[in-house]
Amino acid sequence: MMKYVFTFDPNRCSACSSCMIACTDQNDIDLAAGEKCYRKTYDTEIPLDDGKVYCAYLSTACMHCDDAPCIAACPVGCISKDPDTGFTIYDNTNCIGCKSCAMACPFGAPRYRKEDGKMVKCDGCYMRVKNGMKPACVRACSFGALDCVPEDQVTGAYSDKACNVLINQAGLRRKAH
């Protein structure tokens, strides 16, 4: 199974949110109706003990964990792994909106959509990736903060560069198979 991973370099991000807009454009997310984008950026200031302030710029979405806890948590079996990309995909036809996936996810990736009472989340643009394209958010990142690459290419340049820092911090690093 070919697998792809999202990489994120926080030292290139500015929370400009073009990734969010691209995600919205790709997935027809109705922001005006209060729907939330699958990807979310953050521009946050965190006071430090030494009186200084850390300015965080982040872009997060589903981490597509190897051992994605949402898959087993879903009582109706909506969520699965796409065999071609390794992304965590879903078919929410039977979704009951019970939010079990949100409770299982350490990143808050699944979102409850009020309009139809169903869960939605980032599917890694797996159909685009299967068709040789980059995910919409990656394509819109002008600064190289976000990328999506086959797992075996996550070496060298990225290994010392906080590749997928978020997933590492949460101890859910994707395992190499």
Binding site: L58, A72, P75, V76, C98, S100, G108, P110, Q169
Partner: protein, 427 residues
């Protein structure tokens, strides 16, 4: 070739079979089930009743036939196991048949507990656990004759049954013997807010009411009579006072049990070669370090998968339970994380309330003990993950992404501080 038996075929049994098959393509796997339907999730029953899903969707792994074929299982339908002989690793059936295995999994789940009080079997009195219960209630509601209902038991099931009734415009009263709702899982103060919000939705509440018996009125309506003499009358009565692990058939086996079968991190019981998983077992709770029965779907699946792998010789461990209770009903949600009963007077308490959220959390002995949150569904996973991390490391702080997320969702800074503060990795 290894010979395995799986007793009971719900989420745990299925995941055990799937894991065993994945690890050992040649193993012979017998499955004993007391039904003729596939594994289903009891939590889905009320969703079927309200029409959120079709009947088929109760069965997330497919039909029994499909599963049998896919996992190459020998399935014995409608075949309850009546006893187990650990020394021989044998299962006993009602007809006297005895079959020996290399390893056996007990994954018999749990049943809704209905005390055999007078009137428990009157028409119109119902429980909610099985697919048949769901079919029964749906049919009853679709007949359209029910105008009023009593739900006895402000429990996780009770509240979902209540939702099924209320969404059909049925006038409802929620009754419980405890002084407040969800009393084993939430703080009194949390319950107060939950109850206020329930009442705002037009639901009548009656707490501190112990059910004595049920009478039928001349007009056919039902009256639930309380031990204190109070009487509540309605067209139907739901009894949702709790579940009991299905372990009666093990009582003479000598396998160590409490409420459920005690298991270690490999899902092994006290008897060699016998495993247990799911709602019928008690695995380690990471908070207390003791074995506890925590019956949730995700646990059942994980425990089943661990047991299945170990049964064919592939070592896996179950990382442990944390007490977790999530309720989501009538466009409302709350969660309790951790053990509310472990909290003591001298512990440090945090409370916050606004229109959207309610938080109450307790810290003691340098650790978070219990967190109650209302209205936070999207963020529950993050807080749960922080809670679990705090057991691995009591000084655990929130990483930048968690802080960002919680802030963006309107969590107060003081709560973020209380559950761990912030860490910034400036590598």
């Amino acid at each position: 070739m290894k010979k395995l038996a799986i007793i009971g075929f719900g989420g745990a049994g299925y995941c055990a079979a799937a894991a065993a098959r994945e690890c050992d393509p040649d193993a012979h796997i017998d499955v004993y089930t007391d039904t003729d339907i596939g594994p289903y999730n009891p939590m889905l029953t009320t969703y079927y009743v309200k029409g959120a899903i079709d009947y088929d969707a109760l069965f997330p792994f497919g039909s029994l036939e499909e599963i049998q074929k896919k996992l190459k299982l020998q399935v014995y339908r409608d075949t309850p196991v009546t006893g187990l002989i650990p020394a021989e690793k044998a299962v006993c059936l009602a007809d006297g048949t005895k079959r020996a295995y290399d390893s056996i999994l007990v994954s018999t789940g749990a049943s809704a507990f209905v005390p055999k009080i007078p009137g428990w079997d009157l028409p119109g009195v119902f429980k909610m656990r099985t697919a048949a219960d769901a079919v029964h209630l749906k049919k009853m509601l679709e007949e359209g004759k029910i105008r009023s209902g009593l739900v006895v038991g402000a429990s996780w099931v009770g509240i979902k049954v209540l939702e099924d009734l209320v969404e059909r415009g049925i006038d409802c009263t929620l009754i419980d013997g405890a002084d407040w709702s969800f009393s084993i899982a939430v703080f009194r103060e949390t319950a107060d807010r939950i109850q206020r919000d329930l009442e705002k939705k037009g639901i009548k509440l009656a707490f501190g009411q112990m059910l004595s018996h049920i009478e039928q009125e001349p007009d056919g309506r039902l009256t639930a009579v309380m031990k204190n003499g109070n009487r509540f009358t309605a067209d139907t009565v739901a009894i949702c006072i709790g579940i009991r692990p299905n372990v009666g058939f093990l009582k003479d086996s000598g396998i160590a049990m409490n409420r459920g079968v005690l298991v270690d991190e490999h899902m092994r019981t006290s008897a060699e070669g016998i495993y247990a998983a799911g709602d019928c077992c008690e695995a380690y709770d990471i908070q207390s370090g003791e074995q506890k029965n925590i019956g949730v779907w995700l646990n059942a699946r994980k425990q089943g998968a661990v047991a299945g792998a170990n049964m064919v010789g592939v070592k896996r461990e179950f990382g442990g339970n944390a007490l977790l209770n999530l309720a989501h009903y009538l466009d409302y949600d709350f969660i309790s994380i951790g053990d509310v009963t472990s909290c003591r007077e001298e512990d440090e308490v945090y409370e916050y309330e606004d229109e959207r959220y309610y938080f109450r959390a307790v810290r003691g002995g340098g650790r978070i003990k219990c967190i109650n949150m209302i209205g936070t569904a999207d963020s529950n996973g993050i807080v749960k993950s922080i809670f679990i991390k705090s057991f691995e490391n009591s000084a655990a702080e929130l990483d930048v992404s968690a802080v960002c997320y919680l802030r963006a969702n309107g969590f107060p800074e003081s709560f973020i501080e209380f559950i761990g503060g912030k860490i910034v990795d400036r590598a």
